[in-house]
């Protein structure tokens, strides 16, 4: 398998992992909204907290994480860009 193919496989797997996390925070937890709302976090009902703030925060963290991880994959396979001036 060529280096390019190996790179693309890793990138694809990374994409899938990211999208699974994304689906969890955007869809799966809200399938159980009424159950979650019986629990509380910071004094907020949990489902309310997640839709008002929690999931949003998870997306932000996820995006920084995913960009860093992808940069590592770039480096491993020698496709890392030199910062241009």
């Amino acid at each position: 398998m060529s280096n390019k193919d190996a790179y693309w496989n890793k990138t694809k797997n990374h994409m899938i992992v990211t999208l699974v996390l994304w689906a969890f925070f955007s869809l799966v937890i809200f399938m159980f909204g009424s159950e979650l709302n019986t629990m509380s976090f910071l004094g907020y009902p949990l489902a309310y907290y997640m839709t008002a703030q929690g999931s949003l925060l998870a997306f932000v963290v996820m995006l920084f994480w995913t960009a860093n991880k992808q940069e590592k994959i770039d480096e491993e396979h020698g496709f890392s860009e030199r910062e241009e001036d």
């Binding site: 999208l19 399938m31 910071l42 907020y44 489902a47 008002a52």
Partner: protein
């Protein structure tokens, strides 16, 4: 004043600008103490900020194609994040989001999840690859990847429908805010708004829009956060409302029980003469509605907004302006961070505003008080005059019940500072913020449309030999025409007929999402597949919208149709996008696989290093 080149000095320049803006706010506060009228403070806030944007627009003028279309591809990561956040957060987000949460509670907040979660799709599926490709516009990618003028024209068609739906709403918002802040009629406000928008974008294209959007982001975020924190401290919500409003949310639940959530009949509301667009609280704030259908409605709305976000050209094109692929990825993360600052504050503002009105223990509370007392409050009088709030004593007991208090959603943002007794300087600041939000989005949209028409239709299809001067002239003329058309339609106040901002997301996801994703992730996707997919997606989505939306279905189909599986007019992308996917895959598999050159192009797109597919200037 500054040594070195412009890009290196950005932190200093915008730091100075932010400092200057705070000084201006303080000067206005002093002016208010000195007896300058509230109206004049509003005028000064809007005029001063708009002048600054115009100045930035003028200083960023350019005669270069790549500066005009993609800001010369030198916008640093964090600044591009701010510009995207301003591009993204519209006048509607700024003014209406908190109002939406105020009335819709948990159910409405599917929009919050949708409008942020979409960026995960942008970052993983689209932005880095489109940046590597080196396109100027979104149809430029589709036209080059699939090859041919027809597929290019089809994608311009979708872009036009989606962005134009959005832009009239933005110009409308600009007009509303300009008219209120400057005290001029709405129609005049629309044209004032348009001129401000054009000054920011015409001379410098994407470069000018980028640097004004950064300035607009700073104004809008300051204008949103200061009142939220101030009000929270004033009504005892805690120093840091985002982490400390748990008790307030619980208290709202108690108050809902105490006052009772009553649904008014349409006949009662008509008899009482409630003005159109005003709403009352009839649902819970934090409660989750029971049942599978409620869950499905939440999820389908979130899906439409997320997938739509990842397909909207005016957002995607912001990531064409970064220096590298890596910067494009990081820039998406920064964009979402800057968006998060405002979006996570909207529910807090809604909570505080609701509590301020509902809690009888607070001096600001009005529910449960006598109606004659409430009617003598100054802000109630002011907002009643312009038909933004209304009281109807249905049970005739002279006491204001929860279901007897009507208010337009926008009032939550525009009037809460006044309700909580903050000085008027804050209300002036909020006007400036709303204006910044509406202008920045309108700028991005008008530019997305006119760039697609000038680059993809005029240069690529009609006159490929045109020289730079002619291309830029055409681009600017189109910009003015598109802006004027948007303002003309907005001045008729047709937006209630044109419908919701959500439609733009549904149109974009129906026609663009899968052609963009599969263009990168599936080499087998062919030109014929893309053409068939785009047209099947957008036309099926459009047809479903006409069928399901009562204002259209009554004249066309002669009656109101029940939405299929709960997919109403806000969610018609749930019909268009799957049809687009199926048609595109089937037709692609039926046609000959793309030639070796196209496959190599896709391979190169997937790798961050190496030359872009399209040259620096093309």
């Amino acid at each position: 004043m500054f040594k070195g080149n412009f890009i290196d000095n950005l932190p200093k320049i915008y730091g100075t600008y932010t400092g200057g803006f705070f000084v201006f706010i303080i000067l206005m506060a002093i002016a208010e103490q000195a007896g300058v009228s509230a109206k004049n403070i509003g005028v000064m806030f809007v005029a001063f900020t708009v002048l600054i944007y115009a100045l930035i627009g003028y200083l960023s003028r350019t005669i270069q194609v790549d500066a005009y279309y993609v800001a010369g591809r030198q916008v640093p990561t964090v600044f591009n994040g701010m510009a995207t956040a301003a591009d993204w957060m519209s006048g509607a987000s700024f003014v209406a989001l908190a109002g939406g949460v105020y009335y819709g509670g948990y159910t409405y907040m599917a929009f919050l999840v949708g409008w942020t979660g979409g960026y995960v799709l942008v970052a993983t599926l689209m932005a880095p690859y489109l940046r590597k490709f080196g396109c100027y516009t979104v149809p430029d990618f589709i036209g080059t990847r699939y090859g041919g003028n027809l597929v290019r024209a089809c994608s311009v068609f979708v872009l036009f429908i989606a962005s134009f739906t959005y832009v009239t709403a933005q110009i409308n918002a600009t007009g509303t805010i300009a008219s209120r802040a400057l005290g001029i009629p709405f129609e005049a406000g629309v044209w004032v708004g348009l001129i401000s928008i054009l000054i920011c974008s015409m001379l410098g294209g994407m470069r000018a829009v980028t640097w004004t959007q950064v300035a607009q982001y700073i104004v809008l975020i300051v204008a949103y956060l200061i009142p939220v924190f101030w009000i929270s401290n004033k009504v005892g919500g805690g120093v840091f409302p985002h982490l400390m409003l748990g008790d307030e949310v619980a208290r709202l639940g108690e108050l809902e029980q105490q006052f009772g959530l009553v649904k008014n009949s349409a006949a009662d509301m008509k008899a009482a003469g409630v003005p159109g667009g005003l709403k009352y609280i009839s649902g819970t704030h934090a409660g989750v509605p029971e049942g599978g259908m409620a869950v499905w409605k939440y999820l389908s709305l979130a899906i439409c907004m997320m997938v739509g976000t990842a397909s909207l050209p005016h957002i995607l094109m912001r990531y064409f302006t970064t220096p590298t692929v890596r910067a494009a990825r990081k820039s998406v993360a920064w964009s979402l961070f800057f968006i998060f600052l405002l979006y996570s504050s909207a529910p807090m503002l809604a909570t505080l505003s609701k509590l301020a009105l509902m809690d009888p223990n607070l001096p600001t509370g009005i529910i449960g008080k006598s109606i004659s007392d409430v009617q003598s409050i100054e802000w109630v009088q002011r907002w009643s005059e312009v038909k933004q709030v209304f009281i109807a004593d249905f049970n005739g007991d002279g006491i204001l019940q929860l279901n007897e208090w009507f208010m337009r959603g926008d009032v939550v943002v525009l009037a809460t500072p006044e309700i909580a007794g903050l000085p008027f300087v804050i209300s002036g600041l909020v006007f400036a913020g709303g204006m910044a939000a509406a202008m920045s989005t309108a700028d991005g949209l008008v530019l997305a449309i006119s760039n697609a028409l000038s680059h993809d239709i005029y240069y690529k299809i009609i006159d490929p030999k045109a020289d730079t001067a002619k291309r830029l002239l055409v681009a600017r003329v189109l910009l003015v025409i598109i802006g004027a058309a948007g303002a003309y339609i907005a001045s008729f106040r047709l937006t209630s007929i044109l419908g919701s901002v959500a439609w733009a997301f549904d149109f974009a996801m129906s026609g663009l999402f899968f052609p963009l994703v599969l263009g990168v992730w599936w080499k087998r996707a062919t030109r014929q597949g893309a053409i068939a997919g785009i047209m099947a997606g957008i036309l099926s989505g459009l047809t479903y919208l006409l069928w399901v939306y009562p204002k259209f279905s009554v004249p066309i189909f002669g009656g109101v149709n029940t939405p299929f599986l709960g997919i109403d007019h806000l969610r018609f992308g749930m019909i268009g996008a799957p049809i687009c996917l199926v048609v595109m895959v089937v037709v692609s598999l039926m046609t000959k696989e793309p030639d070796a050159a196209t496959q190599k192009m896709v391979d190169d797109t997937r790798i961050p290093t190496g030359k872009a597919i399209l040259g620096k200037q093309h």
